[in-house]
Point group: C2
Chain length 257, copies 2
DNA sequence: TATATCTGTTCCCGCTTGGGGAACGCCCCG
DNA sequence: CGGGGCGTTCCCCAAGCGGGAACAGATATA
């Protein structure tokens, strides 16, 4: 089921795997019970039962009606996780105010496991609706956030991530080869911001600026909007300035060892 | 370490417990390594090591510098969890707009495991800063959200929760006995909204209105502010009206079986 | 440079424990 | 009343997990 060439094999604990398989399943589909879970995962009911007991005692899951769902403890964990990543308050404030000013969608993302994770998102008044939401993971080659972050990672890490990528063409403009990607990254480093010209979703363009602490990249901030409003000129002019100054504010307010 | 009279003992799985002990620990303190964790939990390094491997493979945790932290996957899980609880979009929209209108703190909470969990929070322009944030769990007897939700739960569940509570006086006004509590709940049911008169934090008052679907309570919405601005009259008048109409909007927009 | 002492990692052994089969109790439906 | 769905319980047996100890780097100390 998983013969992927992962780097660190080592010993892995089966019961824990099972527990997280259950959690994953409940994340996808809430409200299912012992039998259903057992079938789905290919385990005996008794096995699943003990696991559910354990998770319930831990308040990881909750029994609701005749089925289980994930518990609200995850909300608490999530807010701790965000706090552990840099200074989240500043980021939040800056993203919100940029969304207010521009009226568009503003997002902040960081890299993890070779993907971009959205830490915060704010929608301005006339923002288009997008599917992405906080917590989502997106590939790095097809988003301006991803490409911008990637551009400022250490060279070896770039190689590593680029090698593991599967370049799947999301639109006609999606980057589909390492060569294209490296060239793009070079451009980003030169101009100091990154563009997504309908490379991830048709009709949508974005600009992103990197947020750095000294020489290490923390993440990136982006504005997203419809191509109709986001002309070439605005993208490279006004909008690029917006994200760069917002990134700057975050950088200045972010002090930690 | 845990001889609490929990209802459903059953069989519980040790490795899973250990795994979640590690996660709990990392939630409290990020950036620690194998040795430290092993010491803290009283396990051997090799044991902890295999667990960390498992969690890392699962992308539950991330190795960062010389230590581990919880992964961003939790953000994704959290957003799924919120979606599974009623219709979160409506709630969010309503809470945000109420915070805008009033300029104060507005929160939405639901009951789980006899406590209130905050699902969403919005701060108006001149809102006081409070410590509570999304995901936090608070006791039900000392918050207006908690008391309001409690008031509309099925009688048997009220008994159950009230019995397990430990009434710890947070301020001079905190409810400290079941009798007081039951009386308060009666009042809430009569007037259709609940008040917190500096019962949880000195200087802060709140009003909450229940959000119901048919006859089952989904949660409650509240406004919080300093006693100086939140006079008796405003609390029971204007502010109570605000939360009740917001609750109403949510109820009307929430349709599911 | 050598020595000491932290890390994290690996190996292997033996006992615990957790996974599974099967039986049971319950509820709902025919 | 009987059948089939659910969750729960019991018990057994091996395999999987926890732990001790040895190993390997990295950093510091002299």
């Amino acid at each position: 089921m998983s013969p992927q060439p992962n780097k660190r094999p080592g010993r892995t604990i089966r019961s824990v795997q099972i527990a997280f398989n259950i959690i994953d399943l409940l994340q996808e589909e809430a409200g299912i019970g012992v039998t259903r879970i057992a079938d789905e995962l290919g385990h005996s009911k008794s096995t699943v039962h003990s696991h559910l007991r354990t998770l319930e005692e831990r308040r990881i899951i909750v029994r609701e009606g005749d089925g289980y769902r994930l518990g609200l403890r995850f909300l608490d964990v999530a807010s701790h996780v965000r706090d552990q990543i840099g200074n989240f308050d500043i980021v939040q404030k800056e993203v919100d105010s940029l969304a207010d000013e521009t009226g568009e969608i503003v997002q902040f993302g960081v890299e993890e496991y070779g993907m971009v994770s959205y830490l915060h998102k704010a929608q301005g008044d006339h923002a288009v609706e997008t599917l992405s939401r906080v917590g989502t993971q997106q590939p790095m080659y097809s988003t301006s956030l991803g490409k911008t972050i990637l551009a400022y990672l250490p060279a070896e890490r770039i190689e590593e991530i680029a090698a593991e990528m599967e370049y799947e063409p999301k639109t006609a403009n999606t980057i589909t080869s390492p060569e294209e990607l490296f060239e793009e990254l070079e451009t980003i480093r030169e101009q100091g911001y990154g563009i997504d010209d309908e490379e991830n979703i048709n009709g949508l363009r974005c600009v992103s600026a990197p947020v750095k602490n000294d020489e290490t990249i923390l993440g990136a901030i982006s504005i997203t909007g419809p191509s109709s409003r986001f002309t070439e000129d605005r993208l490279h002019g006004e909008l690029a300035d917006y994200v760069r100054s917002a990134a700057n504010v975050i950088e200045l307010n972010t002090k930690f060892s």
